[in-house]
């Protein structure tokens, strides 16, 4: 009996140590290592051509002249005895303006392309499809859940993070991208007549979309509408797949000590129709602009 008890105590101690080890290796270390991981963002550098160099010189000389003029025109009050509160309030204003500028700048960049792109505005709770700067579809975002990792950004880095569009790397969904029907060409009119089907409204399946973008961002789109049983099964299987992958990664990190970069996520809820429209309208490698 005593031996059994001792074995049990030893096993408990071992299990406790395993728990601590697992917790430290898979949670504590990744969190502590991830100290402002997204600060080292690099702006896409365009190779300067002779023309662009000249243009840049011209514009810089113009802009500096202009800026000097403008600064003279709009004299900024210099108040060095400002309270911390005021300073912080002004800083927040600047930070919001920077984010807004980053959002518009990214949209303007994308408007130069021919492709349809996605605009997610978490401040106004709107998801939009745009092409050439024209909003072709607008959907209300009913609920938002954001990753806590987004709080780790410094404001400047955050603006920089938002300033350049996110590009889709991979997407998974419970609905097909294009609901293709394959038909064999009939050999004669009799076969053609047999193939005739009276068109009916396509069945609208439940939607859940996972989109992995560059800069390690994951966007999950789910529907606010009630799920049917098939939809639930499909969404569960997709969720299980993700869970399985993260479990395997966590297990592997126990002995490899290799961790993925911080992967911020954003979960949004849309109407089923809007989610379907957005998923089907986007090209294979769409880009996204984010405002938050």
């Amino acid at each position: 009996m005593k031996i059994f008890k001792r074995i049990l105590i030893t096993l408990n101690v071992l299990a406790f140590l395993i728990l601590v080890y697992v917790f430290v290796v898979t949670v504590v270390i990744p969190v502590s290592k991830a100290y402002l991981p997204l600060t080292k963002l690099e702006r896409p550098v365009e190779k300067p051509t002779k023309k662009s160099k000249k243009a840049a010189e011209k514009s810089s000389s113009k802009s500096t002249k202009g800026a000097q003029k403008e600064v003279k025109e709009e004299e900024v009050p210099v108040e060095e005895n400002v309270s911390d509160k005021e300073l912080i309030a002004r800083f927040e204003t600047l930070s919001n303006l920077r984010k807004q500028a980053a959002f518009l700048s990214a949209r303007y960049d994308l408007s130069k392309q021919d492709s349809i792109y996605l605009v997610i505005d978490l401040i106004d709770s709107v998801a939009m499809l745009e092409v050439k700067g024209i909003s072709v579809h607008r959907a209300k975002i009913h609920a938002v859940e954001k990753s806590h990792s987004l709080k780790l950004f410094h404001d400047k880095d955050f603006s920089l993070w938002l300033e350049y569009p996110f590009e889709l790397k991979a997407a998974k969904a419970t609905i097909p991208k294009i609901p293709i029907v394959i038909k064999q060409a009939p050999k004669d009119t009799i076969e053609a007549a047999a193939q005739v089907v009276i068109p009916t409204a396509p069945k609208r399946e439940d939607v859940y979309i996972t989109m992995d973008f560059t800069k390690n961002l994951r966007l999950n789109i789910s529907q606010v509408d009630k799920l049917d049983s098939i939809g639930e099964i499909r969404i569960d299987s997709l969720a299980r797949e993700h869970r399985k992958r993260s479990f395997v990664k966590a297990y592997e990190s126990l002995h490899t000590y290799k961790y993925d970069k911080i992967a911020p996520f954003i979960n949004i809820k849309l109407n089923k129709a809007d989610a379907t429209i957005i998923y089907r309208a986007l090209p294979d490698r769409p880009q996204m602009v984010l405002r938050m």
Binding site: V31, A101, L104, I134, S149, K151, A185, E191, A250
Partner: protein, 243 residues
């Protein structure tokens, strides 16, 4: 005797002691299971736990940005950011076409006619059925409406449809020669046809009961009244946005 005396309490106390031990053992066993289960749970809920860790960490991050710089410097930055915002806004405003344009939703087969930012008509239409007609191993036709930005390149009143090969293949009919009379049809496309490139048109239809459904071969079919308004509003050069 001594041995007997010593052995008596052991015999008497054994059921009680065994009971206590068994309770302890059960507790220890349960604890063991909980600990092992917790380890697996940590692995299972790792993403959530890590994210929770970030929220804790975010509290302790020293935000240098928020206290750096003087008030004057901040004000200057605010002024310049406001200026660039205005500049970007005006640039984006310039992208809105001055001519009326049409937006077509292929998922729900609907359209929206817009002029100077105001929606002047909405309605249903028929868009591509997303069907692949397989003729042979090497040859197939794809019936889908293209997505993106297009421009109206021509407007035809009372258009004549020149039936392409796929029409005859789909009907199980022999394909007639290029200029055969069988190919010309002057009633199927309605009153107007607005071409937006690659043989795609916005036109009328005989199958008005299928409006709102994806049944076409790639063109955008409209009801008579809608088509009349759209054709009279859009001109050559007007934009067609399809998504």
């Amino acid at each position: 005797m001594e041995n007997e005396i010593e052995s008596i309490p052991e015999i008497n106390s054994s059921p009680k002691t065994a009971g206590i031990w068994s309770v302890t053992n059960v507790v220890l066993s349960l604890l063991l299971l909980i600990l092992l289960f917790s380890s697996i749970s940590v692995l299972y809920y790792m993403p959530e736990l890590v994210d929770l860790g970030y929220s804790v960490k975010a509290v302790f991050i020293k935000r240098e940005d928020s206290h750096s710089g003087s008030y004057a410097k901040l004000e200057k930055q605010i002024v310049s950011t406001r200026r660039s915002l205005e500049d970007l806004n005006s640039k984006l405003q310039k992208l809105i076409p001055q001519q009326p344009y049409i937006i077509i939703n292929t998922t729900y087969s609907s359209f929206k006619l817009v002029s100077l930012g105001d929606t002047i008509r909405t309605g249903v239409c028929s868009t591509g059925s997303n069907t692949i007609l397989k003729v042979s191993e090497k040859k197939q036709y794809v019936f889908k409406t293209p997505k993106g930005v297009f421009t109206v390149i021509n407007r035809k009143k009372n258009p004549v449809w020149v039936k392409p090969d796929w029409y005859f293949i789909e009907e199980g009919l022999p394909i007639p020669p290029r200029n055969s009379e069988e190919r010309f049809d002057s009633w199927s496309m309605g009153e107007w046809a607005l071409g937006f490139g690659d043989g795609y048109y916005i036109h009328g239809t005989l199958y008005q009961r299928f409006l709102g459904l994806p049944v076409s071969h790639g063109c955008v079919r409209m009801g008579d009244e809608d088509l009349s308004v759209v054709a009279n509003t859009l001109q050559v050069g007007s934009k067609v946005y399809i998504y």
